[in-house]
C-alpha cells in the first residue's frame, strides 16, 4: 500500500523546511453520515518528526485538524541528504511511518 | 407572460385546501395529474427537485393513509411541475436574450 505520508524537506543551508501531508480522514466524531449515524472519531493524535535520533517536532492533534492534515515547520542542524523519519499514531492505534531524504 | 399568469391562477387554485376529507381516489387523480406534468417537464429537461420532493411526500402520506396531506402535496407538485414546464417553454427562445454577443 502506498504510504499515507508525503513529505517535502528542503535544506537551504542552515535551515531545513519541512512540509508534510498525511492521508487520514480525521473524523471528529461530531459528523453524521448520510444515514444520520454519527461517524465515530478517528483522528491522528501524534505525529513525530525525527532527525538523527532526536525529535525535531512533535505534533499533538485533536479532531479539529482538517482531513488529510498538513503541517509546515523548519528546524536547524540538518544537511542535504540526511534522513528525516516521520511517524504517526491515531486514536485507534493505527500507525504509519516513512523516511524522507532532505533535499 | 400569459402562461405565467395562467400558472399563478393554477397555483392559487391548488393551494386552496379541500374542505371535505380527501379520499384515495382524490389522491390517485391528483397524483396522476402531477406525475403527468412532471413527466412532461422531464421531456423538456427541466424537472425541479422540489417537485420530486412533493411527489415523494405525496406518496408517503398516501401510504400512511393521510389523503388530505397526500392530495395537497400532489397538487403542489403539479403546480410546480407546470411552473417548470412554463419556464422551459419560455426559455426555448428567451435564453438567446442573455447571450453575450
Amino acid at each position: 500500500m502506498a504510504s499515507t505520508i508525503r513529505v517535502r524537506a528542503v535544506s537551504s543551508g542552515e535551515v531545513t523546511e519541512v512540509q508534510a501531508l498525511i492521508q487520514h480522514p480525521m473524523d471528529s466524531g461530531y459528523v453524521k453520515d448520510s444515514h444520520g449515524k454519527i461517524i465515530p472519531p478517528h483522528y491522528i493524535q501524534q505525529l513525530t518528526f525525527e532527525h538523527s535520533g532526536k525529535n525535531v517536532l512533535v505534533a499533538n492533534w485533536g479532531p479539529a485538524v482538517s482531513k488529510d492534515p498538513y503541517i509546515k515547520f523548519s528546524f536547524k542542524g540538518a544537511k542535504k541528504g540526511d534522513d528525516l523519519k516521520i511517524s504517526w499514531v491515531d486514536n485507534k492505534g493505527q500507525t504509519d511511518s516513512t523516511t524522507a531524504k532532505i533535499h | 407572460m400569459r402562461s405565467l399568469l395562467l400558472i399563478s391562477g393554477l397555483l392559487l387554485a391548488a393551494s386552496t385546501p379541500a374542505r371535505a376529507a380527501a379520499s384515495q381516489a382524490d389522491f390517485n387523480a391528483a397524483y396522476a395529474a402531477a406525475a403527468a406534468a412532471e413527466k412532461q417537464a422531464g421531456t423538456l429537461q427541466d424537472q425541479w427537485t422540489t417537485t420530486e420532493a412533493d411527489l415523494k411526500a405525496a406518496k408517503q402520506a398516501a401510504a400512511a393513509g393521510n389523503y388530505d396531506k397526500a392530495v395537497a402535496a400532489a397538487k403542489e407538485a403539479e403546480a410546480l411541475a407546470k411552473a417548470s414546464i412554463a419556464q422551459a417553454t419560455s426559455e426555448k427562445t428567451r435564453w438567446k436574450d442573455a447571450e453575450i454577443r
Partner: protein
C-alpha cells in the same frame, strides 16, 4: 395541516416569484431566427466580456476561478495548493494510467501520447459518431473496449485519473476544435443553449451565476467566472472533502438551483462542456485545483 400547507405554498410562491423575476430580468433583444452560428465570434465576445468586466484580472488567471478576484481567498488557496489534498489522487491516477487491464492493454493504448499532456484537446467532436466525446467518456469507452467495467463518472477513480491527465497538461492552452460539420455546430449551439437556459425552481441559468455574477457571493460561495472554469477541472472541493469531475460539478450546479440533474455524460452535458471549453480556448489548463 394549515401550517404545513402554508409552508408548501411558500415554496410554490417562491417558484412563481422566480419565474416573474426571470421574465423581467432582461431587456429582451429579439433573437433573429436562423442566425448564423459563429463560434469564433462567440468566443471573442465571451472573452472580451470578462476582460472588460474584470480589468485587473490577467487573462490566464481566470482559470483560477474565484481566486482571481478575491485576495483573502487567494491567500488561503495558495496555502492549500502548497501541498494540496489532491496530491494522493495524483499518484493514484498516475498508477492507473500505466497499470495494464486484464487483457494486458493500458489506457495509454487508447489515448494519443499515452494520455500525457492531452487534456486541452477534450472534449472533441467525433465526426464518425456525430457526437461530442469528453475525456471522461473516452476513459470509460477505453475501459469497455478492453473488457473493463466503466468507472463512476463523478468522483473517486475517474476523478483521480482525469486529475493526473490534467496535471500532465498544466500550462497547455485549451484547444477545442469545431470541425466543419453541421452536427458539430449544432452540438456547440446546443451547449450554448444549455448554458444560457434558466432552469430549476430558482430560475437560474449557468450564466446567471458564472457570467452575470462572478466574484459575488451566493449563499456562502464565491462564484467563479465561466471563462476558463473547466480548465481547472477536476476540482478538490473542501465541501466534498474529495475530488470531483466535471460531471459532478454540472450535477451539483443543477441541484443548487433546485433542478433535477441530467445523467452524467448525457448529450446536453457533453455539449455544454464542448461549448464552455471552446469559449475558453487559449487559456491554460490548471487542473486539478482546490476550491472551497
Amino acid at each position: 395541516m394549515r401550517a404545513q400547507l402554508t409552508t408548501r405554498l411558500g415554496s410554490a410562491t417562491l417558484a412563481l416569484a422566480a419565474l416573474a423575476l426571470g421574465a423581467f430580468a432582461f431587456v429582451a433583444h429579439a433573437a433573429t431566427p436562423n442566425e448564423k452560428i459563429d463560434p469564433a465570434a462567440d468566443a471573442k465576445a465571451f472573452r472580451d466580456y470578462f476582460v472588460t468586466k474584470f480589468p485587473k484580472v490577467k487573462l490566464d488567471d481566470f482559470v483560477n476561478g474565484p481566486y482571481s478576484m478575491n485576495a483573502d481567498m487567494r491567500k488561503q488557496w495558495e496555502a492549500i495548493e502548497q501541498f494540496p489534498p489532491y496530491d494522493f489522487a495524483l499518484d493514484e491516477g498516475k498508477a492507473m494510467l500505466s497499470k495494464p487491464f486484464k487483457n494486458g492493454k493500458t489506457y495509454a493504448d487508447c489515448f494519443a501520447n499515452g494520455g500525457i499532456g492531452i487534456r486541452q484537446n477534450y472534449p472533441y467532436f467525433d465526426e464518425k459518431e456525430g457526437k461530442v466525446v469528453t475525456l471522461e467518456l473516452a476513459i470509460n469507452r477505453c475501459r469497455e473496449a478492453n473488457g473493463e467495467a466503466p468507472l463512476k463518472y463523478t468522483k473517486d477513480k475517474m476523478a483521480a485519473l482525469t486529475a493526473y491527465m490534467a496535471y500532465t497538461s498544466r500550462g497547455k492552452l485549451m484547444d477545442i476544435k469545431i470541425p466543419n460539420d453541421p452536427r458539430a455546430l449544432a452540438a456547440y449551439e446546443n451547449g450554448k443553449r444549455y448554458f444560457y437556459t434558466r432552469r430549476g425552481q430558482l430560475n437560474f441559468s449557468c450564466a446567471s451565476c458564472h457570467v452575470q455574477n462572478p466574484g459575488r457571493h451566493i449563499r456562502a460561495e464565491t462564484l467563479a467566472p465561466a471563462l476558463g472554469i473547466l480548465n481547472a477541472m477536476p476540482i478538490y472541493r473542501s465541501k466534498w472533502g474529495a475530488l470531483g469531475t466535471i460531471s459532478r460539478r454540472f450535477t451539483s450546479c443543477n441541484k443548487q438551483v433546485r433542478g433535477v440533474p441530467l445523467k452524467p455524460q448525457s448529450e446536453d452535458y457533453r455539449d455544454l462542456e464542448y461549448y464552455l471549453s471552446y469559449v475558453s480556448n487559449g487559456l491554460p489548463i490548471s487542473g486539478p485545483s482546490s476550491r472551497p
